[in-house]
Each structure stands twice: as C-alpha cells, then as structure tokens.
C-alpha cells in the first residue's frame, strides 16, 4: 500500500512537470525547466544529517538551445514512458530504458549515461526516487560476508532468513538492488564492525584469511564506486545494527572519492545523500601517509590522477585537515598505491598487521 502511494505521488509529480512545460508553450514562452546544479560548487553541508546536499544554485534547461530542447523532449518521452509503466505495473532496468529510447527518433539517447543522468534529474525535480518511477539498476553483485542474519523476501513473496556467514558460499551474500525494509530486514548481528572493501582481490584475501571470524567483522565488497543499493545497505547496517563502518580502499584520488560518496554523499546524487551516505564511516587507508610509513610499492601519479587530486583540493567534502594533508602529501610524493601492495610483506600482512593497527588507532578495535 505504501508502495502504491509512492507510485501515485510519482505520477502526480511527473504530470505536474509536463503541465509546467505545456503552460509555458501555451503562454507563448520558450519552455524551460530549472534544476539544481549538480556541481561540486553547489553542494552544502547539512548540519542536521551530517551529509552533503545540493545548495540553492540552479541551472536552466531551455528549448532555446538544441541540447536543451532535446533534453526537454526526452523528458516528455520519459515522463510518458514512466507513467505507462506505473499504470501497467511494469518496471524496467536503466539499460532497458536506454534501449526503449531507440524508438524516440529525435529524443533518442546517444549513450546510457545520458538516460541515467536524466532519470536522476527527474528524481531531483520531483523529489521522488527512480524506483518510484519503476526504474531499477542492473544487479551489480556487491557481496557481503560476516555474522549477520537478514531476512529477504524473495520474488515469490517467501521470506528467507539468511546468515551471511553460515548460509552462503565463499562468494558471500549478493546485495539485491532493492534493500528497503519491504525486501530486506536485519534480524540479528553478532559483529563488532563492518569493513567496506574496494577491490575483489582484497575482499577475497580477507575472506580466505577468515578476518570476519577472527575479528568479528562484516565484510562488504564495494566493487569500485559503490552502487546505490550497496551504499544504502551499509547505511542501514550502520543505523539499524549500530555497526561502525570503515572504508578500506586503494591509495589514489579515485578511492578518496569512493569514500566521499559513501561517507559524505556523491556530487551526482547529492539529492539522496541523506538516504545513502553514512557520515560516521571512517577511512582506514590506504593513505598517502601509509605509503611512506609502510614503505609500500607504488605507481607514479599520471596526469589524470594529478588533475583529480587538484580538483579535490577545491571539493568542499575534502576540506578538513585530514584530507588536506593527505591530498597534499600524495601530490608531494607523486605516488599512489594499491590495497594489494600490502602483500609486499606477505599474504597475512593486511589481516594480521595492517588492519588491526589501523582499527586500533581509530578505536574500533580494542
């Protein structure tokens, strides 16, 4: 029932949007639409929630220019398509949505990025979520291993209790795209903290070394820049199970951004930060200081890395002392390191030495 309401609200909002465009044309105006700018200069720290959200600056999408006109037409097609899905109780993946546009002639998308972005624009304008529009992402297969019991409602409506350590194989529990309460409930948790890990290689190393059992941890594989469901899952672990979250990633500017989107909110989806970000998540490495302290094998920063680091210097999310220091240091030494560089000191170094040291430093482990 609650679900039904959300869809109805979405239809209302979408219709309002079309009505706004209709009215402008009827008033002999050039149709346009205002959208909060999705730029790093337009994100503001929200004290109440502790995450970064969009500020007040808006941009205008106007039919005066070809791109704007095209985007407005695409919007109309998309609205029509979404309303249709809600009415007929169907849903589509973002990729399917992109292919649907093949039949939209002038409004056809030239890349899936474009259709994904427009779907996000509509979320921002309508304050709905894409699931409300019946759009869903592809499964991205992020995995979880650890002593936590969840209850998942499967596609037949049957509820299943799953312990993410004992009831799953070595590849762990796969996080579905929908991790809301109607789909997943947290039943029980014996773990002390959760580690979010960027790479599959490091996730597997921790699993093989039984880090989860030995230290009573939940391991979550981020698979690069984490999907919304992964971020939402982590947030719920943190809020509902009171698990401290630590983020263990490579030591390069892109991994800094993985942490930022997980902990502070992503620039692209800052309208959902309150729902997706875990402000208390701690970055445990690799840091530029780690590279020096542990004398890790490194790669030279390339031009894109340096550009990214410099961009981060003006990114408000990285404006605290810790990040300022780490970013400057990395630029200074001109080096980056992978998580797996820790293997320099043996296969057990990460689990036996590095992580315990780091976790104790943060007070997560006693």
């Amino acid at each position: 029932m609650k679900n039904e309401e959300r869809h109805l609200k979405a239809v209302d909002r979408l219709t309002e949007l079309a009505g706004d465009i209709y009215r402008q044309i009827d008033d002999r105006q050039i149709p346009k639409m205002s959208i909060p700018l999705r730029t790093k200069s337009n994100i503001r720290f929200d004290r109440r929630s502790g995450v970064w959200k969009y500020g007040r600056a808006t941009g205008v999408r106007s039919a005066k220019k070809l791109t704007g006109a095209q985007m407005l037409l695409r919007t109309m097609y998309m609205l029509e398509f979404m309303e249709e899905m809600i009415r007929t109780n169907k849903s589509s993946t973002l990729r399917e949505m992109y292919y649907i546009s093949e039949g939209w002639e002038k409004a056809k998308f030239s890349a899936q990025d474009e259709s994904n972005m427009l779907a996000e624009d509509l979320e921002i304008i309508t304050t709905c979520m894409r699931e409300d529009f019946k759009l869903r992402p592809e499964e991205d297969g992020a995995r979880v291993i650890g002593d936590i019991t969840i209850q998942e409602t499967d596609r037949k409506g049957k509820r299943k209790k799953i312990n993410c350590r004992d009831d799953v194989g070595d590849s762990g529990y796969g996080i579905p795209y929908n991790v809301e309460a109607e789909k997943i409930g947290f039943i029980d948790c014996d773990a002390d903290f959760a580690v979010a890990i960027e790479t599959g290689g490091m996730f597997d190393r921790l699993v093989e070394n039984r880090f989860d059992e030995e230290y009573n941890a939940v391991l979550v594989h981020l698979k690069g820049q984490p999907a919304r469901s992964t971020r939402r899952f982590i947030k719920r672990l943190n809020e509902e199970m009171k698990l401290p979250i630590c983020v263990f990633v490579d030591g390069d500017p892109w991994s800094f951004r993985i942490h930022a989107s997980l902990a502070y909110g992503a620039i692209k989806t800052a309208h959902l930060s309150e729902y997706l970000a875990t402000p208390t998540a701690e970055y445990i490495g690799i840091t530029a200081s780690d590279i020096l302290n542990y004398d890790l094998p490194t790669d030279k920063l390339n031009d894109r890395d340096i550009q990214a680091l410099n961009a981060e210097k003006t990114d408000p999310r990285f404006s605290d002392q810790f990040w300022k220091h780490e970013i400057d240091l990395m630029l200074d030494i001109g080096k980056k390191a992978e998580q797996q560089a820790l293997a320099k000191y043996g296969l057990d170094f990460a689990t036996d030495t590095y992580l315990p040291e780091k976790l104790k430093e943060l007070g997560i482990m006693k």
Partner: protein
C-alpha cells in the same frame, strides 16, 4: 619560339635531323622514359582532335597502350577524323616541321609542326621499328595502310609495305608506334593527361585502354562542336624582325602598301601609308627588296601609329557552361560539393596576339583537405603536365591571397591547401611558352593579370558558397528546434496532461526571431522546379523584396506563383512580398523550361526592404545589383539570439560531475 623554328628550318641542310633530335630530346618531350610515352600519346591525340575539328566531326578517339617487352610499349591512337589521302601520309607523319599550322595564326593545339613526326622518329630510333598508319577517307571504299621508315638525313619518310585494305570504319586514321617508354600511374601519367584532355574537350569521347587491358571511357558531355577557329593574319604589333623580312620575301604583293595591307590584320591602306611615311620607305618599293634597316624602321613605326587592336573573335574558349559540365562529367567520382561557376574573361591582347583566360574551381567532397589544391593547367585545350612551378598560371594562383576565399594558405602566398581543384585555361593564337617543350606558359604581364583577375572572380563565387553553407548549417540547428522538437514537446506534454495541443507559434517566434529563407532547385523531366520559401519566425508581420538572377525568358509563365514586380536585363527579377504573418510560410515557386540541367543548379537569392539582421538564408541585395560584383555581405550573428538573462545553462556546464573515474 617561332624564330627558333625558323632558325632550325634554315639549318636543316647543315645538320641531320636525327642529330638535332638527339641533341634536343628534352625540348621535344622525350627526356625520360615516362615522359616519352606521354608525349607520344599527347602528340597523336592532339593531331586527331585537330583533324576532327577541322572537318567538323565530333571526335571519337581510342588510345591504347600495350606492353611489348620490358620498356618497349606500343601506342595506338585511332580517330574518326576525315582521314589522310595516300600522298600526304608520309608528309603528315614523317616530316619534321611539316604542316600548314606552323605559319598560321589560329588557336591550335600543336602550334608547331614538329608534333607527331617526332614520335615516329623517336619510335624508330629507340626500337628500330617503323610506325604503322592506316587511314581512310570517306570518298574511298578501302583504307590505305603503310609502314613509315624515316630517312633522317633527308628529313623525309618513306612508305613501305603499303597496301589498300578493308576497314569497317567510314573514315578515320589509326596510328601505331613502338617506342621505349615507361607506363606509370599518378599525377604525371597518360591517364591524367587524357583526363585533362577530356575536361577541356567536352565534345570529345576518349577511350583509353592501359596495358592491363581495362578500358575506360571519358564520355563527351556535349554534342556541340566548339566554333571553328579562324585563321587570322598577324597583327603588326606582334611581328618580329625576321618574320617580317621572311614575309616580305615570299609575298605576292608588288608594293609595300599592298604588302602591309594584305598580309597583316588591322592595317588599312591609310595606316600602311602612315607607317611607311614614318619609316621613310617609298609606297611603291617592292617588298622583296626590304632590307634589315627598313624592316626595323617599320617595326618602330608600328609602335607610334595608332592601330586597332587585334581581332579577338578568332579564339575558341571552352565557355563557362561547358567547363562546369565537363568538370562534373570527368571528376564525378570525387563527389565534389561545389562547382564554382567558371569564369571566362573577355579576350585581351599581348604583343599583337589575342588571348582569353578561363578559370574553374571544384570544391569539397572527397578531395583531400590536408594537401595542396590540385592545379589543372591548359593551353589551347591541351593539358600541361610538366614544369608546373614555372608556369604563369601557377604563379597567378600563388599570388592570390586564398585565405580571403576560404582556402588555407601560409602567409597568404604560395599554393593554397584545401579540398579544391583549380582549372586555368589560356587560349591564344600564340601561346607564349617558356620553352620549346610547351609545358609552361611564360610570365607575360598581360596574361598574368588576366589569370589573377579570373582566379579572384571565381574564388569570390567559392567564398559566397562557403559563407552560405556555413550560415545554413548554423540555422539548421534552430530550424530543427522549431520545426521538429518544439512541436513534439507540445504534443507530448499535451498528451500527458490530457489537454489539446497548444499553439506553438509564440514559442517559435521567440526562439527564432528571424525570417528564414530556404531555396531549392530540383531538376525533373527537363524542367527546373525552383522554390524559395520564406518562413516568418518573427512576432511581427513582415514584407520584403526578393531578388533572383535567372534566365527569365525560360520561366514557364503558368508556373509562376507570384508575378514579378520587375524584370531587368532579362535576368534580374524582383518580387514584392507584401505580407507574411508571424509563423506563416510564403512560397515563391516557378519552373524553368528548356534550360540545360547543369546550367542552373543553384539559386541566387537576395533580399531587400527588410532589416538585414532579421534575415537568415539569403544575402542582402548588393548595392550595384550586378552579378559580377556581388559583395560578400557579412551578417552579424545577432539574428535570433534571445537574451540570456544571466541564466546558467544546465546542459552546458563545463564541470565534470560525478566521482567516477
């Protein structure tokens, strides 16, 4: 050059011709194996074309090259000309410096009788094999066939193994010669040469079979023969001393007055007497007694006496229409996007010789954008293949600042870069070549100036086209918005909210705020359908004048959608458009009948009586309303730009969003 030939004629008894030949291979065009083969083709094809034209026959020339052994080739050239009578065959093909055209002043391909006989001799010297000739005149039932052996000492050819044979051809001549040569492909090749021949001889069909046996045909693009070129007597201003003495020696005139009057053009008896007075020569002196001093006196006197300019109607330019047609015909595979209307200048005179310059430019399509432009040079309808740098045509091209006309050129000098072919044709009763090899036109100031003027005139048309194309592409974007996207947005939004489709007129005029002119010409069933559409995308009712340049006598009156207000000079047509309401489209349409397809393939549309800033798609009427002097009117880009109100464009932010790599 003529004087050198005379010298040569004088010395003929003293040195053997083959000796001369050996010494002068380079000027005769046999200095490399590659060039020898091209020269052989060139001389025989020139002969064939001249023969056909003299007889008023549309030339159908077959050229075949067969590889005999490593660097021995057989060149066969066959035409459908009038044929050569048996007695003349050895003279035409076997004697150096034979032929009437050497002494005449007319626009001819070969201006020197050295032509094809040099090929015969070269073939004999390099392979030891005689040339084969077969010829049939229409009066005879059979063809005469023979082999020619040159007696190089006597400058005479002997016909051996001659016979009469059956030949299915009604009339024509076939020439076959074996020679040492090298067949190549590329810029300087037989193929390129024949391609050039086809361009400047649109009335000729040329079939070429290279050594690989794959025949290709350059079809003729017109059935019309070029008007026959008239022989003219020499104009006194161009006569040199030796020539004058020679003429005086052989004239049939008995007195100096009648000699000057009959042997030269533009000398009346009165002018003759005036010249003789100035040179202090008696009217009645026998011309044969003219001495060197007296001849010099006449030449000096000619400079002081006012003499009418030479006749110019003896020239046969290809003509603007045919150059374009021919370029399209021969260069079709390059799919050029624009054939600039060619320029044929009015005839001018240098040193007593009339000449005319023609220029054509081909642009775009699959022509290379990175390379220098291709230059096609022609003199009296003969392609010039070598010594490009030394030629007045090339120097003329290098001297024009092509950056002003839309081509790249470093520092505004030199051969420009870009996807273009530039054709220059100089026709004259006497082409001043830099050397005997007749490959480069000498840098005569009068000719250079005409070349540059013609190049600039043609280049202006290219620039006008490029400007128009650029403006069109800019406008096309807005047109797409208002014609395709806005109607769809209106329709979709109406459907979603469940209301009738709103009127988009107001929105459209706000976006465009301009009158858009779109013209089109479609050729179908021997008619040109011309349409000029005026879209009033402004919030006001508009009126204006439309001006076009077209052959008004070819307009089908019944097809006219609006009577013109004025027709000037039979081609400058003006319409008054009294009222176009906002978002209305006014269409001006008519058909042209009986105009050649290629003669009218682009409309020239101008507007007046309206703010130039609110017009897109047509130029403002030039002040002088004169085709040759259309100035390029640069419109400000302000038209149709609505103010921005300082808004940030959501879709054009330069900042990359997202945390992804």
């Amino acid at each position: 050059m003529a004087s050198i030939a005379h010298e040569l004629a004088k010395k003929q008894k003293e040195i053997s011709v083959s000796e001369f030949f050996e010494k002068n291979k380079h000027i005769l065009g046999f200095d490399s194996l590659t060039r020898a083969l091209i020269t052989a083709v060139k001389e025989s094809v020139d002969n064939s074309l001249d023969a056909c034209e003299d007889a008023g026959i549309l030339p159908d020339v077959l050229v075949r090259i067969d590889k005999e052994s490593n660097n021995e080739y057989r060149v066969t050239v066959e035409d459908n000309g009038p044929g050569i009578v048996k007695k003349q065959v050895p003279n035409v093909f076997g004697r150096l410096l034979y032929g009437s055209r050497f002494h005449t002043r007319a626009q001819r391909r070969g201006q020197q009788g050295i032509g094809v006989s040099a090929v015969v001799m070269y073939g004999q010297i390099t392979t030891g094999k005689p040339a084969k000739i077969k010829s049939k005149i229409s009066d005879e039932d059979v063809a005469y066939e023979c082999e020619l052996v040159m007696d190089t000492k006597k400058n005479r050819a002997q016909a051996v193994r001659d016979d009469f044979v059956i030949w299915e051809k009604e009339h024509g001549t076939r020439f076959e010669v074996n020679l040492k040569g090298k067949y190549v492909q590329g810029k300087q090749s037989t193929f390129e040469y024949l391609k050039g021949v086809a361009i400047v001889n649109p009335h000729a069909r040329i079939t070429f079979t290279p050594p690989d046996g794959k025949a290709m045909v350059f079809e003729r693009s017109t059935e019309e023969m070029p008007p026959p070129t008239r022989e003219v007597k020499p104009h006194p201003e161009g006569v040199e001393l030796g020539e004058l003495l020679n003429m005086a020696k052989y004239t049939e005139a008995k007195k100096m007055t009648s000699f000057l009057n009959t042997e030269f053009s533009r000398i009346s008896l009165r002018v003759a007497r005036e010249i003789l007075d100035k040179a202090e020569i008696s009217y009645d002196q026998r011309p044969s007694r003219l001495n060197l001093d007296q001849a010099g006196g006449i030449i000096d006197a000619v400079k002081e006496v006012k003499i009418m300019s030479p006749e110019t109607d003896c020239l046969s330019p290809i003509g603007e229409g045919l150059i374009r047609k021919s370029l399209k015909n021969v260069l079709g595979e390059a799919r050029a996007s624009f054939y600039a209307p060619p320029i044929t200048r009015e005839p001018k005179v240098f040193g007593g010789n009339p000449f005319v310059v023609e220029v054509g430019i081909v642009y775009g399509g699959q022509l290379s954008r990175e390379d220098p432009v291709q230059i096609f040079r022609f003199a009296n309808r003969v392609p010039l293949m070598y010594q490009q740098g030394a030629c007045a045509t090339t120097q003329g091209i290098e001297n024009v600042d092509w950056r002003r006309y839309g081509l790249e050129q470093r520092g505004g000098k030199g051969i420009p870069y870009g996807p273009a072919i530039i054709l220059v044709h100089v026709a004259s009763t006497k082409i001043p070549f830099t050397s005997e090899s007749k490959e480069a036109i000498a840098n005569v100031p009068e000719i250079r100036e005409e070349i540059e003027l013609a190049l600039k005139a043609c280049a202006r048309k290219l620039k006008t086209h490029l400007n128009k194309a650029e403006k069109k592409s800019k406008t096309r974007v807005k047109f797409e918005i208002v014609q395709e996207i806005i109607p769809m947005i209106a329709q979709k939004s109406a459907k979603i909210v469940g209301k009738p489709v709103p009127d988009i007129a107001g929105t459209i005029t706000k976006i465009m705020n301009v009158v858009w002119v779109e013209d089109e010409v479609v050729h179908d069933k021997k008619r040109h359908h011309v349409s000029v559409k005026l879209y009033n995308y402004t919030p006001k009712t508009q009126k204006m004048h439309i001006h076009m340049i077209l052959p008004y006598d070819k307009v089908d009156e019944k097809s006219l959608s609006l009577e013109p207000a004025e027709v000037r000079d039979g081609s400058k047509v003006t319409w008054n458009i009294k009222k176009i309401a906002p978002t209305d489209i006014f269409e001006l349409a008519f058909d042209l009948k009986g105009v050649d397809k290629d003669e009218y393939d682009d409309n020239e549309v101008f507007v007046s009586g309206i703010d130039p800033a609110s017009i897109i798609g047509a130029d403002v009427l030039p002040g002088d309303w004169d085709l040759e002097h259309i100035t390029i009117t640069e419109n400000g880009g302000a038209a149709g730009e609505a103010s921005d109100n300082g808004e940030i464009d959501y879709d054009e932010g330069a900042e990359v969003i997202g945390d992804e790599e």
